[in-house]
Symmetry: D2
Subunit: 330 residues, 4 copies
Amino acid sequence: MIIVAKDNPSAEKIAKALDPHDPIHPVFVHNNRVALAGIKSLEPQQMEPVADLVDSVITDHHSAIKSSRDFHPEDTIIKTPHSVIGGDNFVLMAGPDSIESPEHVLEMGEDVKAAGATILRGGAFKPRTSPYSYQGNGEVGLKAHRQAADKLGMDMVTEILDTRDVDLVDKYTDIFQVGTRNMQNFALLKALGQKRKPVLLKRGMSATIDDLLNAAEYIAAGGNDQIMLMERGIRTFDNKYTRNTFDVGAIPVLQKLTHYPIVADTSHAAGHSEFVAPLAYAAVAAGAQGLMTEIHNDPAHAFVDGAQALTPDQYSAMTAKIFKIREALK
Amino acid sequence: MIIVAKDNPSAEKIAKALDPHDPIHPVFVHNNRVALAGIKSLEPQQMEPVADLVDSVITDHHSAIKSSRDFHPEDTIIKTPHSVIGGDNFVLMAGPDSIESPEHVLEMGEDVKAAGATILRGGAFKPRTSPYSYQGNGEVGLKAHRQAADKLGMDMVTEILDTRDVDLVDKYTDIFQVGTRNMQNFALLKALGQKRKPVLLKRGMSATIDDLLNAAEYIAAGGNDQIMLMERGIRTFDNKYTRNTFDVGAIPVLQKLTHYPIVADTSHAAGHSEFVAPLAYAAVAAGAQGLMTEIHNDPAHAFVDGAQALTPDQYSAMTAKIFKIREALK
Amino acid sequence: MIIVAKDNPSAEKIAKALDPHDPIHPVFVHNNRVALAGIKSLEPQQMEPVADLVDSVITDHHSAIKSSRDFHPEDTIIKTPHSVIGGDNFVLMAGPDSIESPEHVLEMGEDVKAAGATILRGGAFKPRTSPYSYQGNGEVGLKAHRQAADKLGMDMVTEILDTRDVDLVDKYTDIFQVGTRNMQNFALLKALGQKRKPVLLKRGMSATIDDLLNAAEYIAAGGNDQIMLMERGIRTFDNKYTRNTFDVGAIPVLQKLTHYPIVADTSHAAGHSEFVAPLAYAAVAAGAQGLMTEIHNDPAHAFVDGAQALTPDQYSAMTAKIFKIREALK
Amino acid sequence: MIIVAKDNPSAEKIAKALDPHDPIHPVFVHNNRVALAGIKSLEPQQMEPVADLVDSVITDHHSAIKSSRDFHPEDTIIKTPHSVIGGDNFVLMAGPDSIESPEHVLEMGEDVKAAGATILRGGAFKPRTSPYSYQGNGEVGLKAHRQAADKLGMDMVTEILDTRDVDLVDKYTDIFQVGTRNMQNFALLKALGQKRKPVLLKRGMSATIDDLLNAAEYIAAGGNDQIMLMERGIRTFDNKYTRNTFDVGAIPVLQKLTHYPIVADTSHAAGHSEFVAPLAYAAVAAGAQGLMTEIHNDPAHAFVDGAQALTPDQYSAMTAKIFKIREALK
């Protein structure tokens, strides 16, 4: 349940009075709102001592209570060294699928920066369907990625696969990325909840909207409120022409339910470069607050997922159109 | 297989020479292309008599051969009395879900016309999940719909559910609509293939892209090439916040594969009025050549599907933004 | 709502008193139960005149009211000339996918009869994905099918695709089959609701349990209560190794909700002959009251769907095992 | 590719000659078969030195090469202290969802042992959708679980969620369980591949058959071949009456493709206790080599998932029927 207090000092007092000192059912305060996680209602006598401080009570909120607009009505704005994410801001993240070499990630970074991107993506740990596919180059890749980002004045985002790697990745990255296959790797989510660095949480390929919000809540429950949610396509009965079904409707739905920035990855949704841009236009038109795109200067020889990579030229043509659509929507 | 002839007279000669006079495997000609439906290859000796007339042969085309770009590379443009549909044109179809009264459909028509629509939608035969829900008012509704369209100088589109009603509906409508539940009602598709009036074919809620093209081919095989395809949301594992999952990627995919105009119905996809507009912006940004929208001046008392109806004011605000997005995409 | 009367004469009196003479909201009586279709509750003053006759009232029933166990608690038993279907009875339906010739259907009938089948299946009107695939041989096939069934002392079941064919098919068949693509062809369901001959209604490939029950209700609402429901596999994200996902859980779920016999078609679910038998064992173990199977003596040359056909030998080996499983479950 | 050698010594020689010393593309030997993982073909000159030792070559095998029947034709048989799993053997695993107390798990263990189970299940680390739900009691639970298993002479199976817990869980359990949400937690699979203890790998709720085999391959690639695969229901468009759709067809499909034992969990598939048994009968009839079931003596007060728990009496009634079905299938 959420108790709306008359003001913030009252909220703090209510929280203190009601705190059950229970690791599973913690109490959170945001401005004048007090969230009692996992608790549906209190007895009148429990409420009595704080009754004077209470303005109203909300009981029909989402189970992901910290993530809900009922607890945190205004948009979360995330600030990284080179980007502002959320609210009316718009952010472009782009780069190669995997870090292939220091030179390559730098070159790709130059290209995407020129096209408007402020966050450089790239994978050093790659979650591949088969154990016999390229698995990424680990810390070597993290270092090259960091150097390229620093040289270009960009932020770095990279995927983390293992709880044992949290501190290693933390040494390099600005933003942790949790991939679709780990969206319900609760041990990993809890570990990232202990950090105070932004997390980009991708929707699981068959995760419902509620599953996604509850996954975010695992991070938030630990105290890390710097969360972005990413729609990247879901698994349906038809994947012949696109790799996944891009659920564009998830964007406005999530923006209604939660205060976190909602961003889109249309590279993995499309799976084929020719459909990456139309899906990106759709995402932006539907209100996405950011866009992640995979690029490669030689897609045919990319280490991973070349079929869905845009060339730098295709990318800059796409971002030009995206800025126009953003303009049209104002 | 598709034989590309040197010119149209050659194509006609090839078709004549190869026509197997087989109702299941007909031969079609479009400009300099000859389609041998359902036939994968010919023996060299069968090809020999026409070899001089042949430029090239295509064998990896879609089984929906007449519907494929390989047979008909350029966009199909459909002309109705008040609309031009397909190619670079953009068309708005709107109106009430069901025809409630002559006055109501006329009033709704006035509103949507003012907002830019040229095609007035409305249902006289309603396909309802339960037999105890309102089933539409039949010919009474068709008449009222026709009168409103005539008075306003608009085209009429309405759904047909039964092969026995084809002539009745034909008396009134400008465009036949086939609904999602009848996309593979092959008897109905064949009957409409015998008409020479445009057909708006909605994608089945669990139809693949290939299923949709093959369904269109049932109409085309009968000789009716005036077909529009409509994405209206598919059935997936999550329908808690939207009624269906709007498969925005189907729009560019279909435009690559087929020459028919691709239009979108975001009312049925959304199921809730607040998400109809964001999905419409997405559809248009992804390249949709038209948009169908349900409106009602008093959604709470609509006979059918009021929850997803926009008010006339919401509709005109939406179309204004849509025109801006179209502008931005040029 | 369902009113449970003290006895059947009371139920008739209640029905008469409350009948709204409304074609959409009819009133049905079964033994001592009165169903008010599409009506959720009555005002106390409306109930008053019949209050003495009422035992209790059920309001949380399924919207498919006639199909629900709340209205009709005991199993429906369907009797055809050569079969008893439903309750503790078990029925085998088998035969070729399509009627290829009088000789062939007769030969296949002999084989399946020897293996225990009492209902001979076969298609004269075939719903094919492509218009250029074999569409069946129409009335010629119906006649051959009827003759084979008569000669063998079996019942005939065949698919109907078009409302215009209802009387034609009715001339020949013992049981109407409605296929998966027509499960929500409401015009066809209504037409069959006017007949007094059993209908075998296949679940749509993406129909929910509720959709299936509501589709059955379209037939029942017209007065035809002789309905069998068939699980035949649903469309999911994986159809690489089986054509559909056989939803074996639908069998006990439907048996809880409705009184109609629940039968299974594992040929279309499997799509490959090697998986037809294991799925059939599963269906029977889960409680299916009947089984439909496609057979062919020369699957490689079957007109339609040879890949999923069992040979007569495979079929009789399978039915022998099925009888043993039935025994084990007693 | 798989090279079939004339005998095992030849296979060892071939492996030695072709070993690329490449961690991503290792070479495996099983009897007279040599698997070159991730390699589609070799040049004739590469094969020449070992040509005399080669009987034949298989190139159309599954990418999960060690898991495929092409590499390992005969069934894998797993032996734990109290159970033999795989081949013609049949195993029952049962117990409470979570370890609630030492007394409770012991009592439940007594009941399921009496009904025929040899493996005692129970969760000490619980993957819950919400962070505010009970998360298990950790090592305290592991200890109680181990003690109960030892006292009863049963094997212990329990879920592992975090790579950091592998050694801890290893101290207690006989079989590691990987849950549906972690099926593609590749870091965890790799860590378990380093152990030499059986792993029970549950199918992801939207994992294809191929995804499941490739996930198993992550474990096998590390050298741990003691793997069981578990079907536990998939996510589809309908979960109103059952929690998941039990994909019974996956059982014979997997048995064709892989040599690992295939077991079923019908508790999570059903989600409601009344459907657990019919699904279990179906699983066994379709050929499942084992069955996992959740039980509780007081389902209404179970810490986790009480709705799907059978009581001990229901469980023993179910296993009695299962033994009869097994008999009938012989």
